[in-house]
Amino acid sequence: MKFAVLVFPGSNCDIDAVKAVEDVLGQPVDTVWHTTADLSDYDCILVPGGFSYGDYLRSGALARFSPVMEAVKREAEKGKFVIGICNGFQILTESGLLPGALRHNDHLQFRCEISPLIVENADTAFTSDYKKGDVINIPIAHGEGSYYADEETIAKLNANNQVVFRYFECDPNGSIERIAGICNEAGNVLGMMPHPERAVHEWLGSADGKALFTSILKSWEGRQRA
């Protein structure tokens, strides 16, 4: 299974994503520069965290116009797996691949800590190695991670089971309904503020993020067999 990790000017969790794929899955992974227009070689596209374009104006706002984002849209429409983590999630909402928006944290500070999440939907391609209701420890590190969508959209997300993770017994940023991660209707695009790639070894403070990577590999293998 071949992974692409996108690199925008200002991305800084790209290397971490590469290391996580290597350490957890041992699958091939390339970093792909934001000017690349073709991603058809890849089975999973990771939009990593960081501060693309300095997060100027709004986080993710400038990155969404990079040429590579057209290719991401195309591959997503084909059903390829796309994961946006942190800044990647912001880029995916800005580009309309996922609904809603990420606002400034309600306390207005950047917040970095290991945060408990509850797995709301364990039936996605990204979460099959978790169980619904699992509480997992995953680091967060963001200043603009307060998820917002209007009532109608939230209702739809809930009805379609698109909320994948919620913050558990803590509220690090004022997200509506403590939403920490969502997927699109088709279930092949995931966006989340917490960083699973930072939770892949016990010595990093948690290894609970590994199952997200193993889930994707299994889903892909399942598709290959089908």
């Binding site: 800084n12 290397i15 100027y56 950047f110 970095c112």
Partner: protein, 744 residues
């Protein structure tokens, strides 16, 4: 013609004084040049000869630091020092102050401080892997201290804003609150980078004809005369143009582009344009190579039209570097920088005539001998006199103090003190995990960052106690080094080398110069005993306002090597049933100079706490050996607040109680809250106790079993009487809640 004063006007109207040059210095410039300097030249001499760039007051003292050891690859004098850690790997690090800008624009002042220190490290060819900082503010309690809270809040946000954006984890630091710093907060930032031996780059401009490039951001009118500004007394009343806005995004691109460029092998020399911008970078690069430079001001990329050579040379716009390339390889730089959407522009050439020559097209606008800018800068041997306050502070008699009756309450009081309380409020604003190499995050004695592909890791911390130095400059200096090294040892690292940031008031006052000289001598002594040479550093003087001098505050950045990731140790208690030992002398702690005396009795008095460097060395060796042998489950040094606070911190972190028992002739407040060097708390499993005690005995270090871990309360009995008994959860809520409660 430009509306600039003529050389004659500068001389006759003594305009040079407004640049911070005194009459004597001006006369010396005239005689070195053999003529009167014009406006640009006067500006250039004034910044090169400012305290900030020339170290004219501090140089004679700094020369005495021990700087050599077989593992030192680059000592002081370059942008950052470098040490060898084996396997062809090397570590570059440095600390720097941004005190004055932070006092007037805390967010940007702190942010650009971080930006500057990162550039110092990546110019050496190193990939920055960690940031640390050390901060001092006035008290933040109560309605009168809103400004201190504002400074604290915005400095922290500025450090976070820059470090988080550029993607380098901020892994450690310290914050101290004391009204001595209310007009002059201290903001010291440290960066640590990793490189291989063959990647080392330096700031030299050699090779006649080689092109000189300005790369990165364009030059604007910001920050003109910042270096001079940093060397004057009162930041508030001085020229305010010296504050710049940082652009961490630009710096991230610059960092990647520069490392790629250095890897190309075509770079002759590279240096960041920090204080005094193009002036100091060009003069210093030429000076190191013994060469000259010719620069065309018209070619310098600028943000604004109509900028004069004076403005271009003195601007301190951020995120810029000066690069000398091999002749004919300019295109390599241009291509790499284009990929990163940055500019790289040839602005001049290296010459062999030893001149710094500035032109506008064909017209020479300034011409100075490089050595006169750098080597002939004045050196002042400032008079030094033992401060008279020492007579009073040393008279303090601990017997004049009555120990409080309710020691539980006293422990809470100390845990609530912002200097001791949890700094989570601060470090949760820092991304401490990006790069996924941080094995020990903020909240333990020293942070630990792993090195991918090896079993090695680096332990690092910043430390300094201005009150100790104030009360006993020499011993205070020793403490600074000893405590920093002790913190590294507690995390499982062998201390390797030091970077220092020397923050003091005006060196022109003999009593301050005494503090400076003596504390540096103390640091040197400790560096020699602990085998940790000084490889880089920075000096910040004139930290005084409204007749209030800061405490003499040398801040130490220490880096150590963890040989194997299995040795990584934290300060939190791990398992019930394990023993807690106090390693080091058990009867030296006193209340003199302690945080307890300050907080509970409102006194800063007495001598600095006890410290014997040879005992210190033995304790550190013993504990490191025990850690490396795999016997130590937790280690925590005893610092502010003494034994009781250290035990409480380890208990809180581990959410685990402890039952301890001491027998002593000392007073209760001395035993519980007294301070002294060379003391480390360790947790050891019962089956390892004998082996650990054997190691300590072999090193000639005393150790005492204090008791056992377990339950949910901290209980301390002294001579059979229970003096502390409190639920760990209660201690935790006091300690964790203190700063948020003051800030929100």
């Amino acid at each position: 013609m430009r509306n600039e004063p003529t050389p004659q006007q500068i001389a006759e109207e003594k305009i040079y004084r407004t640049f911070g040059l005194n009459d004597e210095e001006y006369t010396k410039i005239v005689s070195l040049m053999g003529r009167q300097p014009n406006y640009v030249e006067t500006g250039i001499y004034s910044v090169m000869w400012s305290e900030h760039c020339s170290y004219k007051s501090s140089r004679p003292v700094l020369k005495k630091f021990p700087t050599q050891a077989p593992h030192v690859l680059q000592g002081p004098g370059e942008n950052a020092g470098i040490i060898d850690i084996g396997d062809n790997l090397a570590v570059s690090f440095k600390i720097e102050s941004h005190n004055h800008p932070s006092a007037i624009e805390p967010y940007q002042g702190a942010a650009t401080g971080v930006g500057g220190i990162i550039r110092d490290v990546f110019t050496m060819g190193a990939r920055p892997i960690a940031l640390l900082n050390s901060l001092r503010f006035g008290e933040i309690e109560g309605p009168d201290n809103a400004h201190n809270r504002y400074l604290f809040n915005n400095v922290v946000a500025g450090i976070a804003g820059y470090g988080n954006c550029i993607g380098i984890p901020t892994v450690g630091g310290e914050v101290v609150f004391d009204d001595r710093y209310k007009y002059n907060p201290l903001v010291n930032a440290m960066c640590v980078g990793l490189l291989t031996h063959d990647e080392i780059a330096t700031g030299t401009a050699s090779g006649v004809g080689n092109p000189v490039l300005a790369v990165g951001a364009r030059t604007g009118r910001d920050g003109i005369h910042g270096a001079t500004f940093a060397s004057t007394e009162d930041p508030h009343s001085k020229e305010r143009s010296a504050v710049q806005v940082g652009d961490p995004f630009m710096e991230k691109l610059l960092l990647e582009a520069c490392l790629e460029l250095i890897a190309s092998g075509a770079v002759v020399g590279i240096q960041d344009m920090g204080a005094a911008g193009l002036t100091s970078s060009s003069a210093e690069m030429a000076s190191r190579a013994g060469s000259g430079l010719e620069l065309d001001m018209l070619k310098v990329p600028r943000r604004e039209e109509g900028m004069t050579p004076y403005e271009l040379m003195l601007s301190e716009s951020q995120e810029r570097m000066l690069v000398v390339m091999e002749m004919g390889k300019e295109h390599i730089a241009e291509e790499i920088f284009q990929k990163w959407n940055l500019e790289a522009t040839v602005i001049g050439r290296v010459t062999d005539d030893g001149m710094l020559r500035l032109k506008e097209g064909d017209e020479v606008v300034a011409e100075m001998i490089v050595t006169t800018l750098v080597d002939d800068a004045p050196v002042y041997h400032r008079p030094s006199a033992r401060p008279s306050y020492l007579d009073q502070t040393l008279e303090f008699d601990p017997a004049s103090i009555t120990a409080p009756a309710d020691l539980n309450a006293t422990l809470h009081t100390l845990l609530r003190t912002p200097t001791i309380a949890s700094k989570e409020y601060v470090y949760q604003q820092y991304d401490s995990m990006v790069r996924t190499s941080t094995a020990v995050r903020p909240g333990s004695d020293a942070a630990v960052v792993t090195i991918r592909g090896t079993r090695k890791a680096l332990a690092m911390c910043t430390d300094g106690n201005g009150r100790y130095v104030y009360l006993n400059p020499r011993r205070g200096g020793q403490h600074a080094i000893a405590e920093a090294a002790r913190n590294v040892v507690c995390s499982g690292g062998k201390p390797l080398a030091v970077t220092d940031c020397l923050n003091y008031s005006s060196p022109e006052k003999p009593e301050i110069f005494y503090q400076f000289e003596e504390s540096c001598a103390g640091m040197s002594e400790a560096c020699v005993v602990l085998a940790t040479p000084v490889i880089s550093g920075n000096v910040s003087l004139y930290n005084q306002s409204n007749d209030l001098d800061i405490y003499p505050t040398p801040i130490i950045g220490m880096v150590g090597l963890v040989e194997d990731v299995d040795h990584i140790t934290t300060q939190t208690f791990k398992s019930a049933g394990n023993h807690v030992l106090l390693v080091g002398p058990s009867d030296t702690a006193g209340i003199s100079g302690s945080e307890y005396l300050r907080v509970v009795h409102g006194l800063t008095a007495g001598d600095a706490p006890a410290l014997d460097l040879h005992v210190e060395k033995a304790v550190q060796t013993a504990v490191l050996t025990a850690i490396q042998s795999g016997y130590v489950r937790a280690a925590h040094d005893l610092a502010e607040g003494g034994l009781a606070v250290a035990v409480a911190e380890s208990a809180i972190g581990g959410k685990l109680g402890a039952q301890l028992e001491l027998n002593t002739n000392q007073r209760l407040d001395e035993v519980l809250f007294g301070e002294a060097g060379s003391r480390i708390l360790v947790e050891v499993a019962p089956e390892a106790l004998a082996a650990v005690e054997a190691i300590f005995a072999k090193e000639g270090v005393s150790s005492t079993v204090l008791g056992t871990l377990g339950g949910d309360a901290l209980e301390i009995r002294v001579n059979g009487e229970t003096v502390i008994s409190e639920k760990v959860a209660e201690l935790e809520s006091t300690w964790r809640g203190a700063i948020p409660c003051l800030m929100n």
